[in-house]
Amino acid sequence: MGFFSKKSDVKKSGAEAGLGITRKYNLAGGKSYVVEESPPDISFDAFVNIISTTSGDACKKMVGLAVSRQHPDLIKQKYGLETTPIYWLATRTGPEVISPTNLGILTHTMIQFIDANPCSVILLDGIEYLVSNNDFNKVLRVIDQVNDHISQGKALMIIPVDPRAFEQKEMALLERNMEKISAKLETK
């Protein structure tokens, strides 16, 4: 069955080489963060910065897993990621692809990664796409399930959200169990 065959695909991730630069985003482990933005620049910057730097916390070095609507090759090229697993949300087939309608595999991939890598950071980019392919409540259930695992350990999750794509009530539900990050002004 597809759901279970995916289990063996998620391996313990190798850490990205440190760049000797400042940890700019001090996000606490055991929490999930929602970033209201479009495009997801702050989320990617935070994700890449956290996995490319070290901190004095319990998790000195963190490993990452990214799920995105952007193609993995583009992400690897832009952000210089060499060892981080990146999954593409798309209706194609391939080893790095997760179908937007297969929420079971998506949930399982993220949870298994967190279990295998206690000091990990998950970037879940593309929830607007997930919602356009599924019922909002089903997507919320995925986030809640992963969030339950996050809150039991030291991992953290970053979810960029375009607030224009959601009703006020949906935004409130999304932010219910997560911390909100807002960067008041961005350079273009």
């Binding site: 760049l19 910057d45 832009k78 273009k188």
Partner: protein, 118 residues
């Protein structure tokens, strides 16, 4: 504390200066290329310089090298819209203290300034 922003895009410099003002750093100067950067750096002696790695003409690595030859105590923060690890390492090897991904934001900028502003 004086801060220099080196970028060939006038629009980026303008927004970056606005961002610096927002996070409490009002004393800023700007430059668009190597020659102007070195001239302004020599004249104004900023404590921190944000230098775009990809400039018209000489690169940000060369700007960094030249600035540190003038004032080895200056803090150079490299900037780029792509994370090219080789370029970042070259820049850090040259003496840059940190790296900032463009476009940047208040959180990232404040962290870098908190780290290097005194």
């Amino acid at each position: 504390m004086k801060i220099l922003v080196v970028d060939d895009s006038e629009a980026f410099r303008k927004v970056m200066v606005e961002l610096l003002v927002r996070v409490g750093f009002h004393d800023t100067v700007e430059a668009k290329d190597f020659d102007e950067a070195i001239e302004v750096f020599r004249r104004e002696r900023p404590k921190i310089a944000f230098v775009d790695m990809i400039l018209l003409g000489k690169s940000g690595v060369e700007v960094t090298k030249a600035m540190l030859a003038i004032d080895p105590s200056a803090t150079i923060v490299a900037m780029s819209s792509i994370i090219n690890k080789k370029m970042i390492r070259d820049c850090m090897d040259t003496g840059a203290k940190d790296f900032l991904l463009k476009p940047t934001n208040e959180i990232a900028l404040s962290s870098v300034l908190a780290m290097w502003s005194d």
